[in-house]
Symmetry: C2
Subunit: 370 residues, 2 copies
């Protein structure tokens, strides 16, 4: 009754991956990062798959509310803090923790009638995206940190985010800046120490000195490798991670073409031999990347076959000349357990994170293992 | 209460664009193509914006059902036909027209208990994706076309799709093949002539010989130009088309950085001077393309400013050094009325169609002018 495309979410894989990440940081607590609709896997699946996490980290108050309504009683952390001052009331109501990432947020917090149970201050140690620079913002920090402590009646946690944790030792300079800044900041809170959190998936897996009190894995929980774009970087399978999402469809038509015939828009693929071309019900409007070149792997009825011709809005075309068993109705995996998302991403000059998070709303979701 | 990102749909623009397309093909009827969730604009907006179309063309029975429930009484066409034999019952129930694109569909139709009110046969004239080749499939056509006519008690319509209509005269060879094939096909139906449909947006705008009985514009209805990737191709504004979707957000933080400082993942952008970097609440998990290079234009509080640093999952960074009025809270247009989607697409080595259709579910939609 519908196009045969589907996104299956494997909750057992999410559970397994959380255990893998935890085993790499046995002395830290774990924020499971579920922003971006749980990296495209959906909050419902994340709620089930990450039941053993110590807390969930996300962006949006509306998502936090949904998780509380599902019954999540453990900590919830808003990674970018309040988007407007009204968010602070909701944080208090829903018992959320919040990061403070910018001066205006700090000032709103200090002046607010209601404040979150716990606050984390984000330090910018080199990412230059969100947070306070210990050096450039030193005088601002001397003003606001004591005021935040006074308003909360407690010291905030300390957080930073790595720009290059996936590359060799890329975390080290930022860790050093963080550790160098911390004593003065703790002193501004009367010497009260409080938790620190630095490590994303890459640092959790490869940099124990960064683990601190809470790690914050994201991509690894969903079965992607943070090292996939590095030369000789470890693949998800080598890390013991399993695919959280399996993106499938079927062959809906087969064309038999002659040498010299072109396939699809712009006639990009031109057959060198008599060829069988399978048409698959999946296109860029489903989230399959339009820039996928000829040769991008697809798993078709048990073996890998190469993309042939430009990705259309609703269809892709695959060369099944060497795969006579493939025909109308054959199952296709676009990425998932047979074909790692990172492999597809590499062909498309992107990362698995983007492919996972950009499967569009028109693709039906099915959750397994909840 | 939520991230400030939003997708606004301008129904007046959809209405206007339909009138523009119709004016280019005054003697043809118009199928407004609303597949892929109306190119990302939503069926509700399409229903309102294309009320004057002669019919709507789409992929999925579920979407056709939704449009009937909204009150659409005019023709609805399933562009890829039945995905399984059960679809034929739904087509009869919902009074849908269907394209037949492959042999198995034709055989299911001929054997079906209930059939659609009208059927179109898709001819493959060079796209080599869906449809029957008049030459290679000649004997198959001689078998199934009379059987289809007998089963329907009527002749089917004839359809094809252009692979290169956007390039200079790219439609011409395919049109010639279509016209050459038609007399023999009509003869197979006892000489009964029936409607033909060939033209997508590009052909509707630039190739009157292709207009025939029904044109099938898609991208033009939403304010995109089909010629955007051609050298000196006409832009949407030059074609009199208006943006159907306006994708906006806000600056949520500003970093002041020193010469030599890097921004974001992989430290891709490195400041050549003391710089102000605006952080915008929009990332690849919203559908903003991750491969956008430094320099990709953003409209920030009244002027164009360049992207600086790699697109993150939830944030992008923009160089606002030369724009002192831009600050936390400043409005940002990612694409839309100020910044054509085709311009952004060109920087990202893709087409506006992909950007329009891949804005993700987490972005709130607002419909104007319905």
């Amino acid at each position: 009754m519908t196009r045969p495309i589907q996104l299956s979410i494997d909750v057992d894989a999410l559970r397994h991956n959380l255990a893998v990440m935890r085993a790499h940081a046995p002395h830290a607590r774990v924020w499971a990062v579920v922003k971006a609709n749980a990296y495209g896997h959906g909050l419902q699946a994340a709620f089930a798959g990450f039941a053993d996490a110590d807390g969930l980290a996300l962006l949006d108050v509306a998502d936090a509310r949904a998780l509380r309504q599902m019954g999540w009683r453990k900590p919830l952390l808003l990674l970018e803090g309040a988007f407007d001052a009204g968010d602070l009331d909701a944080m208090a109501e829903l018992d959320l923790e919040s990061v403070v990432v910018a001066e205006h947020q700090a000032r709103e917090l200090i002046a607010a009638a209601r404040v979150p149970a716990r606050v984390w201050v984000k330090l910018n140690t080199g990412m230059n995206r969100l947070g306070f620079s210990p050096s450039r913002d030193a005088s601002l920090l001397r003003e606001i940190i004591p005021a935040i402590c006074a308003r909360l009646g407690a010291a905030p946690g300390w957080m930073t985010h790595f720009a290059d944790a996936d590359a060799n030792q890329g975390w080290c300079v930022q860790l050093a800046r963080f550790q160098q800044a911390l004593p003065a900041l703790v002193a501004l809170c009367g010497g009260v120490s409080s938790p620190a959190s630095l490590a994303n998936t890459a640092a959790t897996l490869s940099a124990p000195p960064t683990h601190a009190d809470w790690v914050r894995p994201g991509i690894g929980l969903y079965g992607g490798s943070p090292f996939a774009t590095q030369p000789d970087g470890r693949a998800a399978g080598d890390l013991g991670l399993r695919a959280g999402q399996i993106f499938t469809s079927r062959v809906i038509a087969v064309q038999t073409i002659a040498p010299g015939d072109a396939v699809g828009y712009g006639s990009r693929f031109r057959a060198q031999r008599a060829s069988r071309i399978g048409v698959v019900a999946a296109g860029y409007a489903d989230g399959y990347p339009r820039n996928a070149p000829d040769g991008t792997p697809l798993w078709v009825a048990g073996r890998i076959a190469p993309l042939a011709g430009r990705v259309s809005m609703d269809m892709i075309t695959v060369d099944i000349t060497d795969h006579p068993a493939a025909d109308v109705g054959s199952p296709v995996e676009l990425w998932g357990g047979q074909l790692p998302v990172d492999d597809v991403a590499r062909y498309c000059d992107t990362i698995g994170y983007e492919l996972m998070t950009r499967v569009t709303a028109r693709v039906p979701r099915v959750i397994h293992g909840a």
